[in-house]
């Protein structure tokens, strides 16, 4: 599904190398987790994959189902099936959440040559998915993420994911700032979307999310590289011993 090879990325504005050769392959239907200390480049990887400005790819490639991602505009990547749940969802005053969702949904359908949904049809789709995530109608009417609590913002990201039905979902610290109940809602939401055609890359700082969303593979990222990969037990190891031990071992 997603194939990243030798990806090196620096900041566009300064001479700072952030990703120093990332290799990663996520198969269809798989869930991979990336863990790693703050500042190791996890968010940068997610931004580069989704096409944010400010980064320069100096080497390597990233493909979604064999198609070069790095050449596409962000909206084209989305239409091709890529989705990033932001670590810090953006507040957009004045744009209603529902308008935002419907515009995105229809833009993607249009880009893929599919029929756009009417307001009524779309409302039905959203209501159903919102209910599962305990997102009430009031939250749909409000401007995008404005005045939302941390947990509400994260649930709103998962709602967008559920509505847009991407193939490749990247979740950047979706668990941070969530209490136990919200964590349960979010992971139930993710698990409900798991199927053989859809893959996940779950970036997390903590092991606890992986109790709910069991990964197939766990990668440890440090200093712009993936330094170790293994099964779910790797996450437990990190939880127990911290990153320091692991780093020593890698060195």
């Amino acid at each position: 599904m997603l194939k990243i090879s030798g990806l090196k990325v620096k900041l566009e504005e300064e001479d700072k190398q952030i990703l120093k050769g990332v290799d990663l392959e996520v198969g269809a239907g798989q869930v991979h987790a990336i863990m790693g200390p703050n500042g190791s480049g996890k968010s940068t990887l997610s931004y580069v994959l989704s096409g944010r400005d400010g980064y320069e790819v100096t080497e390597g490639s990233a493909e979604l189902e064999g198609v070069d991602l790095l050449d596409m505009e962000p909206e084209e990547r989305a239409a091709a099936g890529l989705f990033l749940a932001f670590q810090y969802p953006v507040e957009i005053p004045g744009v209603g959440n529902m308008t935002f969702l419907r515009t995105a949904y229809n833009a993607q359908r249009k880009a893929r040559g599919e029929e756009e949904a009417s307001a009524a049809e779309f409302l039905k789709i959203v209501r159903e998915k919102a209910k599962d995530l305990k997102i009430d109608a009031e939250m749909l009417k409000r401007p995008v993420n404005v005045g939302f609590s941390g947990g509400e913002k994260k649930r709103n990201e998962i709602l967008q994911m559920a509505v847009l039905e991407p193939k490749m979902c990247i979740l950047d610290e979706t668990d941070s700032g969530l209490d136990v109940d919200a964590m349960k809602l979010v992971s139930d939401g993710v698990n409900a979307l798991r199927n053989e055609g859809r893959s996940f890359l779950v970036i997390t700082h903590y092991q606890r999310l992986l109790d709910h969303i069991t990964p197939d593979v766990v990668h440890i990222m440090a200093n712009g590289r993936i330094v170790k990969s293994g099964g779910p037990e790797l996450a437990l190891e990190v939880e127990k011993n911290g990153y320091a031990d692991l780093m020593d071992e890698v060195q």
Binding site: S50, G51, R52, D53, E73, P74, E75, R77, A78, A79, L84, F86, P89, V90, E91, I92, P93, G94, V95, T99, F100, T103, A104, Y105, A107, Q108, A111, P143, Q160, L164
Partner: protein, 427 residues
């Protein structure tokens, strides 16, 4: 004081061959003559005048009316049930208008009202305009008092159910129109006035609104989409006790637009809101909002909310003043003017002013100018929304605060649709 030579030359050139309208009752002739005298005394504006530094008055000074292409699809208020009053090339168009009759309302042509020896506008024509010259000359308003021949005269005596819609039309590409509308809202009465259409190659409108105690007046105006519009407009309002005045203008394109609003809160507990959104594309676009609000009574509220979206060398100007007189305690004054610059070529010039002589006053003002929020733009694009569409959403969001000032949701929706259309067409 003698006028500077350049100013008196320009004034003379502009007024040469112009005469105040013939006929009319004695009081009307006197008011017009008085205006003409005042006008020659103050002179037409020059770039160096304090309130013309950001806006070049040259287009309004040319003795010859400039030729302007006639725009085909001027937006109107097609979905609203209105009493339609049409002016074609600046003259009342009976054929295109509805019958001038409506419950709770006296309505007639200005051209008729000025011929009557006894008429309530006798006590109002030029009165608010003259008072509005107290601190700053507003020569094009005085010009309007002197030369306007037609317009609509409205006196609301009850809650008027249908809005009066003044629609400007053009058939002549060098039409010059000078129109004067007079409004009196009686104690407890309510009236909504709508304006739209292309008007003229060069349009000068004046609106004097006198609102008695507890009266309510709403004004919603659409200017556009004529690209070569040159318009100088003035709205003068005087508010009685517990009265309400709300005015909103949406301006799309146009070449040179100067909208002045001059409001005096005369009765206690009155409320005045004035807002506008202007969207312009291109180096030949210049839009100027100049507002002057005087608090002259206790416990009044005033609000100014102005938004401008500019690209491609377009220029936006905001000059807004709140003046609080010594006795106007418990004044609540708010002013915000913001511009969204869609590229580096666009210009926004703002001059906010507060002048406060009372001590128990709450006044705030702010002016900002900024580019589109790149983080928000990326967020929208990352969800599959193409760049131009994402930008449109952010533009609509930006002007939403101004549109929220329109009380009637259906009218607001009409304007939102016009805006969306403008964005779709890219101008």
């Amino acid at each position: 004081m003698a006028l500077a030579q350049a100013k008196s030359d320009a004034t003379e050139a502009r007024l040469s061959g112009m005469q105040i309208p013939e006929g009319g009752a004695g009081w009307a002739r006197a008011a017009r003559q008085d205006a003409l005298d005042r006008l020659t005394g103050m002179g037409l504006p020059q770039r160096r005048d304090e309130y013309w530094r950001f806006t070049n008055p040259a287009e309004f000074l040319k003795p010859e009316t400039p030729r302007a292409e006639i725009a085909l699809d001027a937006p109107g208020f097609d979905d609203t049930d209105v009493l339609r009053v049409v002016f074609t090339d600046g003259v009342f168009d009976a054929e295109a208008s509805d019958a001038l009759s409506q419950e709770g309302l006296e309505i007639e042509r200005f051209a008729d009202a000025v011929t009557k020896h006894i008429h309530w506008i006798k006590g109002l024509l030029g009165v608010l305009e003259t008072a509005g010259q107290d601190r700053v000359d507003r020569p094009f308003a005085t010009f309007n008092t002197a030369f306007a021949e037609d317009g609509v005269v409205l006196r609301a005596t009850g809650k008027v159910s249908k809005p009066v819609h003044v629609e400007y039309r053009r058939s002549d590409d060098t039409a010059e129109a000078v129109l004067r509308h007079m409004v009196r809202v009686e104690d407890g009465a309510e009236l909504t006035l709508l304006e739209s259409g292309v008007g003229a190659s060069r349009l000068n409108t004046g609106l004097e609104v006198d609102i008695a105690d507890r009266g309510v007046f709403h004004h919603v105006r659409m200017q556009g989409r004529d690209h070569e519009r040159r318009a100088a407009t003035h709205v003068f309002a005087r508010l009685g006790e517990e009265s309400t005045f709300k005015s909103f203008t949406l301006s799309l394109n146009g070449m040179m637009t100067r909208n002045e609003v001059i409001i005096t809160l005369k009765g206690d507990d009155a409320v005045a809101h004035v807002a506008g959104a202007a969207l312009g594309d291109g180096r030949d676009f210049h839009h100027d909002d100049t507002v002057f609000i005087t608090h002259d009574a206790v416990n009044c509220e005033s609000r100014q909310v102005f938004k401008k979206v500019l690209r491609n060398g377009a220029t936006g100007v905001f000059q807004g003043k709140i003046l609080v007189q010594p006795d106007a305690q418990k004044t609540d004054g708010y002013q915000i003017s913001q511009s969204l610059l869609l590229d580096e070529d666009a210009n926004f010039l703002a001059k906010p002013e507060l002048e406060i002589y009372a001590d128990d006053v709450q006044c705030s003002h702010g002016s900002t100018s900024g580019a589109i929020d790149e983080t928000a733009l990326f967020y929208l694009k990352s969800r599959g929304i193409p760049e131009d569409k994402a930008q449109d959403l952010l533009v609509l969001a930006f002007v939403a605060e101004a549109l929220a000032e329109i009380e009637d949701e259906d009218l607001a929706e009409t304007l939102r649709t016009q805006l969306a259309g403008w964005l779709e067409r890219r101008r």
